[in-house]
């Protein structure tokens, strides 16, 4: 009969080597993370001219917009302040009348302020999306959807970022917004969407 000694290197050898326990736990964590990533990162594509963006597969496309206008997509849910993604062409650039990015930002601000209540630009900064340089305009406004009155909701403060990206003679717009209180919770999703941007 062999002696039942407890070896000092009990992590690597012995009757119950501990490395097996640690490995099982690490494998489970990695497997869980991988499966969660697979489920949460399933995406669909929207293609607009030379721009491709991937969005979560369970977001819904707004059927009211014509394909040539762009796309508006939103996460499923009852609230009018669900996260939204809009992809479109803001304007076509005229080589005879060049405009600067700051001018584009100002124009965008004025047009938005005309349609959105309490619209305010919170910040604007240079951004690189899909390897192309553009500008990110962070904004806020108050959303009070008349058609959502049956949902007993109060007006909601929305926060969003417009990415204005000049490319091949057009200024493309990628807009992401959600209720300001939920912005942090959706930051990862927004970052994933932005990382998926591809210019052809």
């Amino acid at each position: 009969m062999q002696a039942a000694t407890r070896p000092r290197s009990w992590f690597w050898s012995g009757e119950e080597p501990e490395w097996i326990v640690v490995t099982v736990v690490i494998v489970a964590l990695v497997l869980g993370w991988a499966l969660m990533t697979v489920v949460t990162s399933q995406t669909m594509d929207v293609v607009l001219d030379d721009l491709l963006v991937r969005y979560p597969v369970d977001w819904i496309q707004d059927g009211q917009m014509a394909a040539e206008e762009g796309y508006e997509l939103y996460a499923a849910g009852l609230s009018a302040s669900q996260p939204r993604l809009a992809v479109g062409v803001l304007t076509e650039l005229d080589p005879a009348a060049p405009v600067s990015l700051s001018e584009l930002v100002a124009r965008r601000g004025f047009s938005q302020a005309a349609t959105k209540e309490m619209y305010r630009v919170l910040a604007s900064e240079r951004a690189i999306i899909g390897g192309k340089v553009g500008v990110a305009v962070t904004y806020g406004y108050v959303k009070d959807v008349a058609s959502a009155s049956h949902l007993s909701s109060l007006p909601v403060v929305m926060e969003g970022v417009d990415y204005l990206m000049p490319y091949k003679g057009k200024v493309h717009l990628i807009s992401l917004e959600v209720a300001a209180s939920d912005f942090e919770a959706h930051r990862r999703t927004f970052e994933r969407i932005l990382r998926s941007v591809h210019w052809r």
Partner: protein, 310 residues
Amino acid sequence: MGERICCVCHELLEEGAKSLGGRYFCESHYAKIARDRQSVWRTTIVALLGLLAYVLLVELIVSLTKPTLSGLPLVVVGVIIALIPALLWLIVFYLQDRLEPEPKEHVLGIFALGALLALTIGLPLRNELFPMPAGLMAGREVVVELLRSVFILGFSQEYLKYAVVRYTVFNSPEFDERVDGIIYCAASALGFATVINLDYILRSGGALLHVAAIRVTITALAQASFSGMMGYFLGRAKFENMGKWWLPGGLALVAVLNGLVTFLLGEATTAGLGYTPIYGLIIVAVVAVLTFGTLFILMRRINAATLASV
């Protein structure tokens, strides 16, 4: 032939030393291994009943006094509520353990280590590294929640509580009876649960008192039940050669059960925006009774078999 060493106190043994399940024992530890500590089971029953009585008491106080606490006073009362399940168990354990004592400093140390690991690893892992993703549709949300409960929360929580015992007291001579696995694992789990409960109270800014009482009880009972199971696996591994897959297999089993029950608790207690914690309390009480009942039967059988072989 190699030297013979007592697997508990590591004392060198003579030829013909007692052995069991491939392990050698000195005379004193051989006599203790199969001891059936009734105090452990009494503690468990009293603590279980005490926790249910505690929930009823808080419910009664809240319904009679209708407290209107808010802000700091609410948080302070919430913190007290979060600490009570662990305090109750420790007090009951202390009172029951007077006849067959386990070193108090070891039990408290394990409790504190369980709390420390929950604070430094368990909570950041759950809240920061693997939070529940926002904005998923209902069907996918359920799948992700199930995966997260089993693979992330189940395995990480059970490993941390297991590690507290395995890497400290497990190899010490104080771990000298099979049932010690259950005692120390329960202490580790209650330390862990206390931090989870405090996190819940502080994050929610106090919470409704009777809801908080039920919720902290659910967490404490669930964590103690799963760790009780793990304690069984550790208790046997210490005194018998169970093979190299015994502990990993045990941990995986307990982690999956933890994940499934956590998921079930989430599904049973929340419907839309509503929260009905009483269903969770019923589920976890059933789980606790089944777990400790099974452990009691298993321990008695194994100890009886050991005594019969003496």
